[in-house]
Structures are given as C-alpha cells and as structure tokens.
C-alpha cells in the first residue's frame, strides 16, 4: 500500500493545480504547469489500470470507468499541449488578456477534476455534483471571449445545461426513492455497487420515470437531438481547446452516466427496456445532424454537428446492445474522442491562420500548409468512417450487426451515415483542396497532439491489441 493512491492523485492533482493556476499570473509558466499537471494525472490514471483500488462508498474504479478515465486523462493531456501553443497565439494577438488566461487554466483543471470525479464516483449523488461542476466550469470558459456570440452561446449552454442538470437530479432522487424501501435509508441507496446488486427488487415503474429524467438530463450533455441546441454554439464560440475537450471528453462523461443508468434499468426485468428509447434518440440525432451538416458556414459548428452525429451512432449502438454492438459502441466512442479532438487541434490552428471560422474564407490548405491540410484530410476521412482508420471498424460492426438483427433499423442508419459522409467530404474538398483562399497569418503550429491521435486511430483501424480487445469485450458483456 503506497502512501498516495493513484486514485487520489487522479482526483487531487487537477484540483490542487486548479487552485495554483488561479493564482499564477504568468501565462507561460501556467500553461507549462497545466501540461505538467495533466501529464501527472495521465500517469496516475495509467497506474489505475495496473492497480485498480477497492470500491468504497464514494469511489469505484471498474473496467468500464477505467476506459473512460484513461481516455479522459489522455485527451486532457494532449489538449493541454495544444492549448499551450494556442493560448500563446491568443495572447500575442490580444484576443485574450493574461487575466483571462489565468482564469482559463484554472477552469481547465477544474473541469478535468470534475470529469475525473464523475468517472470514478461510486455514488449517484456525487456523480451528479461532479457533472454539474464540469458544466459550470465549461460555461465560464465558453463565455471567455465576451463577444456577443460567445455570450449568447454560453448563456444558452448555461440555461439548457442547468435544466438538464435539474432533470438529472430529479431522476437521481427518484432512483433513491425507488431504492430506499429495498436497501434502507441513507447512503446505501445511492451507491452504484449496492444498487446494481439489488436493483431487481426495485419498483420498476419508478425506475422508468427516473430513467426518462436521467436520459433527458444527461442526454442534454451528450448532445442528443432535440436537446442538442447548446452544443454547436458552445463548440463554435469557445476557445478551440475547449471545443476539443467538449467533443472529446465532456460528451463521453455524460454518456458514461447514461450507460450506468441504462445498465441499472436493464438489470430490472420488470422495468421497461431502455434499448428502444436510446435507439430512437440515436437515430434521430444521427439523421438530424447529418442533414444539418450541409448548411454549415462555420467550420467549428460543422464538426460540432458531426459530434452530434457520432453521439447518435454511439447511443444507437449501446441501445441495440449485445456483445457486437456494445463493443462497436465503445470502440466508436474511443475513436471519436481521439479523432474529433485531433480535428479540432487542426481547426484551431487553421482558424488562427485564416483569422476566421467561415468555411467560405478557408481553402486550399494542402497547398499552403501541407502538414495541417493533410492532417485535416486524414482526420475528416477518419471521422467520415473510411478505412483503414479506427471508426471504420466500429461502423462496420454497428451496421453489420444491426442489419443481420433488425434490417429495418439498418436502413435509416446507413442513409444517415451516407448523407453525413457526403456533407463532410463536400466541405473537406473545399477546405483542403483548390486554389488557396484567405489570409496567411504566421502561426506556431503544434503537430504532435494531432498526429499522435491520428496515429493511434490509424493503428487501431488495422490492429487492436488483444489486451484491449479482451478488456472491451468484458465491458461489452457487462453492458449487456
């Protein structure tokens, strides 16, 4: 038994560094420290995989949550790398004052803290608190540019987010009320391990209503249509590192909560099956986002909508259930986080170079900035689900497993995929090819995070290490 548990490190490191960064005026030091803290968090998360701690009343680390934690800390780390260069440029161009950067870094770590707590919580109340905290932190960062648009986006995010949070809390209370007669008053009624073991005896009807509130509440944060409205604007108006984190991590955290409750509900034979609900919402999100992609004028909103589309696919996959679909869902989620954040890294620099987010004012990137341009091409090709990149494998599994089980469901799925594909490729040809368009501001570009992500995605598309496969398969069976 070491002195410091990796878990405590994963949780304390962001919290403490948030406090420290709040007081650190020099942005160079603070961004460096930001990277350092994220690195440490990542390492200790790695330790978690090796030695997962015993679950107690408040914290639980099982195979499911470890996937999320590792992904979370990893993308958190790479994003902090990217954010260092990004913020540097923002300071130089005067988009942000040092004071705001100070605030930004503190909020960044606070958000990481919140997400880690949410992912390790063994207590539905604690999880709720953590997710609310991340919401508030991100709201504050989204509004950081204080332009009209960013304020509007942040305000929209805040209102919709808090309503969602309220729903989630109500659902949580209902779950407790359902559990209380069985497991007795007090803490046990909120502990995952207890709930999962006894859920079969709970009042099914109460669970149903609870699940509706939870799905809507946390689904708002997942960005399911029609609860998605905050997502595109928040992505578009906030600083790009935050867009990367929102798409790459925050959606996953909310998804994690939904999954947990889905498992809980599915374990009660008399309660309604959560699958159909999720399948419907997933398909709606996919189709809606796919069509919305066509009319986008803003590059960051474009990829925000593609995030909605992918969340739709993932929720659909988990809704279908079964070993294949669940495996596919997990894989798709992982790959999407990596790819989408990589894309946002590229987009961040692109918008800095061109000084605009308007797609119309960006073009011919492969000619002017080969590294960035081809990186974008690779990322979009990956996100569009082309081989040999990771998302193709997951989409292959989703579609084929669906089509052999429920052909009628596969039709809208395939159509949606195709429509979205068309939109993405259409925009990509405009962005990356053709005569160069727009200004050419000199920008220091950090290729490492982007290409690191893309390399992982590429490798995963061809070869998944057996350890990971076994791990995912366990989780898939755990998800039922």
């Amino acid at each position: 038994m070491t002195i410091i548990q990796p878990l405590t490190l994963v949780l304390l490191m962001p919290l403490l560094s948030a406090g420290f960064l709040a007081l650190m005026p020099n942005y160079r030091v603070s961004s460096a420290f930001n990277v350092l803290a994220s690195a440490v968090t990542l390492l200790s998360a790695g330790l978690l995989v090796v030695r997962p701690p015993q679950p107690n009343d408040y914290f639980l680390v099982d195979e499911l949550s470890v996937i999320f934690i590792v992904l979370n800390t990893f993308v958190g780390f790479t994003t902090s790398l990217f954010s260092a260069t990004y913020i540097g440029h923002e300071i130089e161009t005067g988009h942000l004052t040092p004071g705001y950067v100070q605030f930004y870094h503190a909020m960044y770590q606070l958000m990481m803290f919140g997400m880690n707590v949410a992912l390790t919580a063994n207590n539905i109340g604690l999880m709720w608190v953590a997710i609310e905290m991340t919401t508030l932190a991100t709201v504050l960062i989204v509004g950081i540019y204080r332009t009209h648009q960013s304020l509007e986006a942040a305000w929209k995010y805040f209102i919709l987010g808090s309503v969602g949070i309220a729903f989630a809390l109500f659902g949580t209370i209902l779950v407790y009320i359902a559990a209380e007669p069985v497991v007795g008053e007090g803490l046990p009624g909120m502990i995952w391990t207890v709930l999962n073991s006894r859920v079969a005896e709970f009042d099914p009807a109460l669970l149903n209503v609870a699940f509706i509130f939870l799905l809507l509440g946390y689904g708002t944060k997942v960005g399911l249509v029609p609860l998605h409205a905050w997502l595109p604007d928040a992505h578009a108006e906030g600083p790009t590192p935050i867009s990367a984190v929102l798409s790459g991590l925050l959606l996953n955290v909310a998804l994690y909560a939904v999954l947990r409750f889905k498992v809980l509900l599915a374990a009660n034979p008399r309660a309604m099956a959560p699958g159909p609900l999720m399948v419907t919402m997933g398909l709606v999100s996919l189709a809606f986002a796919a069509f919305m992609l066509y009319r986008r004028r803003d590059i960051k909103r474009l990829f925000a909508y593609s995030s909605i589309e992918h969340m739709g696919i993932i929720v659909f996959a988990f809704g279908m259930g079964g070993p294949l679909a669940n495996f596919a869902g997990l894989l798709q989620m992982t790959m999407h986080s990596l790819t989408k954040s990589a894309i946002f890294f590229a987009v961040g620099h692109i918008t800095q170079i061109k000084g605009t987010q308007r797609i119309g004012d960006i073009g011919g990137l492969t000619a002017t900035h080969p590294g960035l341009g081809w990186g974008l091409v690779l990322g979009v090709v990956a996100i569009a689900g082309l081989p040999p990149l990771g998302i193709f494998m997951s989409e292959f599994l989703v579609v084929s497993s669906t089509f052999s089980r429920a052909p009628l469901l596969a039709i809208p799925l395939v159509v949606g995929l195709l429509v979205a594909f068309g939109a993405l490729m259409l925009r990509l040809t405009g962005l990356a090819f053709g005569e160069p368009v727009g200004t050419q501001a000199p920008v220091r570009i950090s290729y490492v995070p982007m290409f690191a992500h893309l390399a992982i995605v590429f490798a995963a598309g061809i070869y998944l290490p057996p350890a990971v496969v076994v791990w995912f398969q366990h989780v898939a069976s755990m998800l039922g």
Partner: protein, 666 residues
Amino acid sequence: MGIATTLPCIAGLLALSVAAIALASSRAGTWVIYGISLILSAALLVQGAQALLSGAETSLVLPLGLPWVGAHFLIDPLAAAFQVIVNLGAAGASLYALGYGRHEKEPWRVLPFFPLFLAGMNLVLVADDAFTFLVSWEFMSLASWALVLAHHRDPENRRAAFIYIVMASAGTLALLLAFSLLAGEQGNYAFNFIRIATPGPLTASAVLLLVLIGAGSKAGLVPLHVWLPLAHPAAPSHVSALMSGVMTKVAVYAFIRIIFDLDGLPEPWWGLVVLTAGAASAVWGVLSALMESDLKRVLAYSTIENIGFIFVGLGLALAFHANGLATAAALALVAALLHAFNHAIMKSLLFFGAGAVLTATGERNMEHMGGLIHRMPVTAAAVLTGCAALSALPPLNGFASEWLTLQAILLSPQLPQWGLKILVPACGAMLALAAALAAACFIRVFGVSFLGRPRTANAEGAREVDAWPQAALAAFAFLCVAFGAFPGFATDALSAVTLEFLDVRLPPQADVPWLALVPISAERSSYDGFLILVFIATSASLAALVVWLLGSRATRRAPAWDCGFPDSNPATQYSASSFAQPLRRVFGTTVFQAHDRVVMPPPGSTAPARITVEIRDPVWDYFYAPLAGGISFVAERLNTLQFLTIRSYLTLVFLTLVILLLVVAL
C-alpha cells in the same frame, strides 16, 4: 510461393508510399518510386501467373483487422487470374510513368498515392474475410480519390472526386450489407465460414442485388456510372489507365467472388437481371462515348461499354449455372474473364496514348487535335492498334473475347426459361450494336485526333513523347496482337477458374491443331486468330508484290483533290462532333435529347456562324439531380432549427419531456 511471397510485395508497395512522402519533392523521386513499383508489380504479375497455371491455393491468417476474426488471405485461381490482370496494368502504368511522371507539376500529390493504390487493389484480390476485403476495397477507393485530386485546382476535378468518393462509399455500404447478410447473426466474417453456410434463396437474392449495386457502382454499370466519366479522366493519365483498365476489373472480381463463390447456387432470374444491366451498359456507354469529344472521357465511356460486355458474359454464366449447364457456364465465364483481361490491356494502351497526346499537345479535346500521326508515329501506331482491338476487329484480342461471348450467347437455346431464351439473343443484338458503334467511335477517335490536318497550333507543334512511354505503348500494342493471335493460351490458363467454381473446363485449346480456338466442337465453331493474321499478312504482301512487279511505282505528292475545290483552312475538315452528327441524329435525339443549335450572324456581320451541340444525360437528370435536390431541400428546411431562440429550444426540451412522460404514464 503464393500468398507467402505476395503479401511481402504488397507490404513493399505500402512501404514505398511512405518512402514517397520523403522522396516526392526530390528529383530522383519519380525514378525511384515508379521504378520500384514496376519491379514489385512485375514480381506480383509473375507470382499471379504461376499461381494461376499451377492452380494451387495458398492461404494465410494474420492477427490483424477484426480481432476475433483476424485478417484472412487466400490466393486461388480466381484471385490469381485477377492478380495477373491487375499487375499487368500496374507494371505497364509504372513503366509508362517513368517518363510521363516527370511532366507532373506537383509530384508529391501523385507519388505517395500511386503505390498505395496498387497495394489496395492487390489486397482486395487476396482478402479472404469480409472486413479485410472491405478495408482494402475502400482503401483502394481512397487512394484513387487522392489521385483524382492530384490536379485539385481545377474545380471540375474536385467535383469529380467528390462524386466519386460518395458513390464509392455508397457501394461499399451496399457490399457491407451484403456481407452482413452472408455472415449472419453471429458475424462469421471469414469467407471460409461463409462458404460453408448456404444462405436461403431470399437472402441470396438480396445479396445479389446489393452486390450488383456495390460492385456495379465501382465497375460503372448503368445507371451507377455517372462518376466514372468524371473521375477517370481527371486523374493523371497513367492513373486513368489503372482506374479504367484495372480498378473496374477489381469490381468484376468482387462480383465473381461474392456471387459465384460465396452466395450459394444462383436462381435462374439472376442471369436475367445481370444480362440486362450488362447489355444496357454496353449500348449506353458506347453511345455516350460517341457524343463526347474529350478524348479521355471518350475512353472512360468506352470502359462502361466493355464492362457491359463482361457483365453480359457473367449473366450468361449465371443463367447457365443456375440450370446446371456447366460447360456453357464455363464458356460464358471464360469469355467474361478473357474480355476483362483483354480490356485491361487495350484500355491501358489507349489511356497511355491519350496521356502521350496530352503531354505533346496539352489538349484533351479532340476538336483541337489532328494530324498527330505525322508528328507522333509510334504513339499513332500503338493507338491505332488499340482502337482496332477495342473495335473488336480480327485478328486482335478484342475480337477473340467478343467472339467467345457470341458463341456463349448461341448456346442460349439450351436454357429452359422462356424469358432467358428470348432475352439472350436480344442481348446479343445489343452487343452487336454496341460493337459496331464502338468501331464507329474509334474511327472517330483516331481519325479526328491523329489523322487529317492539325486544327490548332498545339497540335501543329506536337512532339513525340520520350522512350519510356513509347516502350509501354509498344509493349501493350504487342500484347493486343499476341493475345489476338493466340487466345487459346489465355483461355487454357483461365479454365483453372472454371474448374474452381463449375467443376468443368473448356476442352484444352493447346491440343487443337494450328492453335485455333474451339470452345465446344470443331464442327460447331472455331476461330484461329493466328492463321487469319498470317493470311492477311501474306495476301497483303502478295498484293503489294504483284503491284510492285506489274504496276507503276511512281508516286507523286500533290495538294488534295477534294472534288476540285480544296480549302486550305483546316477548320473545313470533319470535326469530332460533325463526324458523330449522323449517329447523333439516329440514336442521340431520343436517348440524350441531343440537338444542334446553329447561331447565324446577321447579314453583313463578319462574325462566324456557330453551331453548338446540346446533350443531356437522362440518368443524371432524372435520378441524381432530384436526389441531390431532395437532400438540399431537407437540409434547408431543417436548417431553421439552428437559429431558434433559447426559449424555443427550452420548449423543445419541455415537449420531449412531456411526451416521454405521457409514454410512461399511459
């Protein structure tokens, strides 16, 4: 030998493309990349030929791809046959590109993707499980997409690439659905599982239709062909040669692999569907080619025609196979495979020629060419051979495969189904029509671009291309003649494939005297390209000799007679569109709503009169345009949801909650 040596070569190609990223900008890049890809594809070609002739099957499983399936690889006669086709084209293209590639403006947009493309196509052939197959398949599309975008500054090319990649992935999704039907609930994606499991008739038929969409969209079957005449010409010419001559054959391979190998026993009506699709594509393709005046686009359309020929052969094979007429099925299948092989040669040859013309004149539009035979003799001779072969003229290779297809059609009376009895000869008529139109089309191509007087300064100043392209052109022209004279060897080699799937083979042609082609029996039908060639040569030289001995030997050069009023202006020659005008009036007015509009200048003005030809593609007008319109309509309607007020978004959330609560409550 076999897979164990094939995969390393493919891996070498992949490695080469990585190296190309580094080498692309350097001067030696072109040499190194194309040189090595020439060597590797030659090696693959040899291995393919060996595997085909030995008829041996070698397989291998690697721990890649889908974890619990792994990446299965297999080389059987079918794969070997297409390995030969693909790598023959690949080797030719590499050889050609050794010279041609040096004219590339931005080599780094071509060099890394060229070996990638070759590797993709080879991987499709050896893949033996659904996942590996689809990965390689889409990988192939992706690489070629990048190559189509090589000249990305031209908006036409960007549009072509976009349409191409979208239709390609639509096809991939169709194949994916087909595979998931075959693999079943528990997802046995390995082909050796699928072969064992026999799908029910309904499933099998669904698979056929899906594969017809999936492979057909890649091969360019009407009405899934619209991307082909856009994308193939857009790429650099050696890549166009690969896409048109080889990649379409990979699609044919996919069709044969899935339908003949994996999809159980065919239903009789399958043949009907495939036949109709094939015949329609043949006629449609060649008619479009006749209306077109962009040289490379004409070639692309003619690819559609030839794919139609191949699919007619496959449809016949299916029909015969479904009725247990194994020998007839074998004949049809061999005809289809032989034509695939021949077309790969001919079409690569012609695209090489088009590329040579493009480098020499900078023109793709035939209206701006003319008289090139004087300035580019080697290219002209090679292209002439290619044109004659594609017009199915004896004793060249195009005729051999067409002759076999017709022989297979003549076996149709054996079919019990009346529909097929009636349809097959009708398809034969359409094939004959297509062949005759193809001849007209290539008279037009060669006559307008290589003969006559130069129409522009560019054509005037054309200069013959350098040695490497000439070598490629000459080699492929020679292949056209060789396989026209000795088709028997090819058919014998291909009979390993028929043995694999139909358990019968054509009578070995090597035993036939004079190396003739005798598919069924000597008294039924026989054709001997070699003898015909010899006869023509001897009688021509005999005639020459006689004239030389008896007649006058004097030849005088003089201005053209032209019925007494020759015009020095080359614009008075027949142009491509005026050559096609009679055929346009006969066929085009109904199908393509083609009409010529003459703009006469007012009396007294010195402006020239203009004639413009308008042609519309009904497939595009009535199918694709509405589709695109529908999508953009829905997108436009939904887009309003991006601009609602926060309150209305809250209302949406609110309504969702209420609805769900109602669902639970009631």
